[in-house]
C-alpha cells in the first residue's frame, strides 16, 4: 500500500515538511510583526502622535502567544503522525497475520478436501483407507489447534481464561507434559535437568502453563535443521528467581530479531518471504502467559545457526523450602 505511493506522500516527509512550514511561518509572523510595528513606531514619532494610544499590546506578548499557538499545532501534528505510524504498523501486523495464517488454515483444509474427494472417486483397500483416515484425523486436529490458538490468544489478551490457579511442582508439570505429548516429539531429544534436585512449587494455571511449554518446545523443534532436534530444559534457582532455560540446537535467531520475536504476529524474515511459516502468535502468547504468572521471558542466541535459549524467569522465594 505504502510502497506504491510516491515519496512526497510518505508520512515522514509530510511530517517534516509540515514542521518546516510551521517553523517558517512562525519566523515570518514575528518578522513581519516586528517590521510593521517598527514602521508604525517611526510613523508615530514622525507625526508626534500619542504613543500610549497605539502601542497598547507589547511585542513580547504577541510573540509568546504566537509561539504557544504554533507549539499547540506542532503537538497536534506530532500526535497525528504517531497515530498514523501506529496505524501503518497495525496494518502490517494484520497483513502478516493473514499471510501466515492463510497458509496454516488452507493446508489442512486442502488435505482433507483431497482425501475426501479421493474416497468419493475410488474404492480403496481397507488398509489404505485407514491410513488416509488417520491423515484426515491429524488434519482435523491441526485445524482445531489453529483455531484454538486464535481463541486462546483472544482469551489471554482479555485475561478471561478458564481454569484456576493451583500450586504445583514445576518440574513435575514439565515432566508430565513431555510424557503426555511424546507423540509430538518423536525423533527429538528432550531432556529435563534439575541440578538442585528439589521441587519448585509455584502457583500456576495448568492450562496456560502447558500452552507456554508447548509453544516453546514446538518452536525449538519446528525451527530446527539438526538431524535430531534437541531441547534441554534446565531449572536454575537463583536468589529470588527461578530460571527455566529451554536450550535448543535449532536455527538460532539473528541479533537484530531477538527482541522482535515476541511481538504479536511477528515472523522472522520478510513478510513476503514465502518460506516463512507459522502464525506469529506462539511467542507472543508465551510472553503474555509468563506475565500472567508474574514472570518474564527472554531469548538469547549466539546467532543464526547456533541454537537459541529461551528463559522463563519466575519470582521464587527460597524460604518456602519444604
Amino acid at each position: 500500500m505504502i510502497d506504491r505511493t510516491k515519496w512526497f506522500f510518505h508520512p515522514i516527509f509530510i511530517f517534516i515538511f509540515s514542521i518546516v512550514a510551521l517553523a517558517t511561518s512562525l519566523v515570518l509572523y514575528i518578522y513581519w510583526y516586528v517590521e510593521v510595528s517598527t514602521g508604525l513606531e517611526t510613523m508615530v514619532r514622525k507625526f508626534n502622535l500619542d504613543t500610549s494610544q497605539i502601542f497598547t499590546p507589547q511585542t513580547w506578548v504577541v510573540i509568546m502567544i504566537l509561539s504557544i499557538l504554533v507549539g499547540i499545532i506542532l503537538a497536534g501534528i506530532f500526535i497525528i503522525f504517531v497515530y498514523n505510524q501506529k496505524l501503518v504498523q497495525l496494518y502490517r501486523m494484520q497483513h502478516n497475520f493473514i499471510n501466515n495464517f492463510t497458509h496454516e488454515l488452507k493446508t489442512p483444509v486442502t488435505s482433507l478436501h483431497l482425501y475426501l474427494e479421493t474416497f468419493q472417486k475410488h474404492e480403496l483397500p481397507r488398509d489404505d483407507q485407514l491410513k488416509y483416515i488417520r491423515f484426515m484425523i491429524q488434519d482435523v486436529n491441526r485445524l482445531a489447534d489453529n483455531t484454538g490458538r486464535i481463541l486462546n490468544l483472544a482469551r489471554v489478551e482479555s485475561r478471561n481464561y478458564e481454569g484456576k490457579f493451583v500450586t504445583s511442582d514445576l518440574v513435575t508439570i514439565v515432566e508430565q507434559f513431555c510424557n503426555d505429548n511424546d507423540h509430538l516429539f518423536r525423533n527429538c531429544a528432550i531432556t529435563i535437568h534439575n541440578p538442585s534436585d528439589r521441587s519448585f512449587p509455584y502457583r500456576i494455571n495448568p492450562l496456560l502453563f502447558e500452552m507456554l511449554i508447548m509453544n516453546l518446545l514446538t518452536n525449538a523443534i519446528k525451527y530446527n535443521e539438526s538431524d535430531i532436534p534437541a531441547v534441554d530444559i534446565t531449572f536454575l534457582p537463583q536468589r529470588r528467581s527461578l530460571y527455566i532455560n529451554f536450550e535448543d540446537n535449532g536455527i538460532g535467531i539473528d541479533k537484530s530479531e531477538i527482541k522482535k520475536v515476541f511481538r504479536k504476529f511477528y515472523q522472522v524474515g520478510l513478510s513476503d518471504n514465502m518460506t516463512a511459516k507459522g502464525s506469529g502468535i506462539g511467542l507472543y502468547l508465551v510472553q503474555n502467559i509468563a506475565k500472567i504468572h508474574k514472570g518474564t521471558v527472554n531469548a538469547r542466541s549466539k546467532g543464526v545457526g547456533q541454537g537459541s535459549i529461551f528463559t522463563v524467569v519466575l519470582p521464587f522465594k527460597p524460604e518456602k523450602k519444604q
Binding site: T102, H103, K106, T107, P108, V109, T110, S111, H113, L114, Y115, E117, T118, K121, H122, D128, Y132, F135, Q138, D139, N273, M274, T275, A276, K277
Partner: protein
C-alpha cells in the same frame, strides 16, 4: 498407457499429507510420481529424474517455489510446471505466470480439476515432442546475446569479449542468463544463490562475489569501475546496459 511411456511427475510440496494424496491420485491415473519435500531437493530431483511435469508449491522450506521456478526456467523453458499454492490472489498468480509457470491452481483445489489440468499439460508437451522430431533444435529462443563489445553464445558456451574468446562454464552461463533475464533489476546475493545455485547451505554469498569478479574481468573495460555488472550497496548486483 503402457509402461514404456509412463509419464514421470515430480511433486514439490512440503506438506506430507497433500503430497501423498496427490501422489495417490496421480498414480491411480497411471503416472510415476516422486515427492520432494523442499526447494533444494526439488531442484536436485528435477535434475536427476528429468520428469515430464512438475507440480510446485510456493511456500516451501529453504527455497521458495518462485525461486525454484526461476531456477528451472533458466535451464529449461519447456517443462510444464503447475503451481498449486495457498496463495490464490490475482497478484500471486500474475507473479507466477510472469516467471513462466504454465498453470496455476489455488488451494484448496478440486481433485478432478487438478487431474485434468495435469493431463492437459502433459498432452500439450507430447505435441511439442513430436514436433521436435521433425525440426530438430528450434527451441533455444536467444542463442546469442550482445552488450557493449561483448557477445555471448549460449549454444557454444563461449563469449567474445575484449580479451578474446572465453569459454564459459555451465554455472557462468546459468548466472549470465539470470542476469540477462533480470536486466535493469537489482538481484540480491541471496536470490542469486537460490536461483543460480539452488542454494546449498555450504555455499556462502562470497561465491556470488567471486563470479561477479570473473564477469567483470571478462566483460568490463575497467573491472574496477564496472559499467555492466554494478554493485548496489547492501542489496546485491545489477546488470544493465544501453
Amino acid at each position: 498407457m503402457n509402461n514404456a511411456e509412463k509419464k514421470k511427475i515430480l511433486i514439490v510440496e512440503d506438506d506430507a499429507h497433500i503430497a501423498e494424496g496427490m501422489k495417490l491420485n496421480l498414480s491411480l491415473q497411471g503416472y510415476t510420481v516422486f515427492i520432494a519435500p523442499d526447494g533444494p531437493s526439488g531442484l536436485q530431483q528435477w535434475k536427476e529424474l528429468n520428469p515430464d511435469l512438475i507440480v510446485l508449491d510456493i511456500m516451501l522450506p529453504h527455497i521458495d517455489g518462485i525461486s525454484v521456478l526461476r531456477s528451472i526456467r533458466l535451464e529449461d523453458e519447456r517443462i510444464p510446471i503447475l503451481i498449486v499454492s495457498a496463495k490464490g490472489e490475482t497478484d500471486d498468480k500474475i507473479k507466477g505466470l510472469s516467471f513462466g509457470v504454465d498453470d496455476y491452481l489455488a488451494k484448496p483445489f478440486h481433485l478432478d480439476e487438478f487431474l485434468l489440468r495435469v493431463e492437459r499439460l502433459l498432452t500439450k508437451v507430447s505435441w511439442y515432442r513430436n514436433d521436435d522430431l521433425n525440426n530438430a533444435r528450434l527451441d533455444t529462443v536467444a542463442e546469442t546475446y550482445s552488450f557493449g563489445e561483448n557477445r555471448i553464445n549460449f549454444t557454444t558456451h563461449t563469449a567474445q569479449c575484449k580479451c578474446g574468446v572465453v569459454i564459459l562454464t555451465e554455472q557462468e552461463v546459468k548466472l549470465l542468463k539470470l542476469f540477462i533475464a533480470n536486466r535493469g533489476k537489482p538481484l540480491s546475493r541471496q536470490k542469486l544463490l537460490e536461483i543460480g545455485w539452488g542454494y546449498s547451505r555450504n555455499t556462502t554469498t562470497r561465491t556470488v562475489d567471486n563470479f561477479i569478479v570473473r564477469f567483470r574481468r571478462y566483460f568490463e573495460d575497467n573491472p574496477h569501475e564496472p559499467v555492466y555488472f554494478k554493485s548496489i550497496r547492501s542489496i546485491g548486483y545489477l546488470f544493465s546496459h544501453d
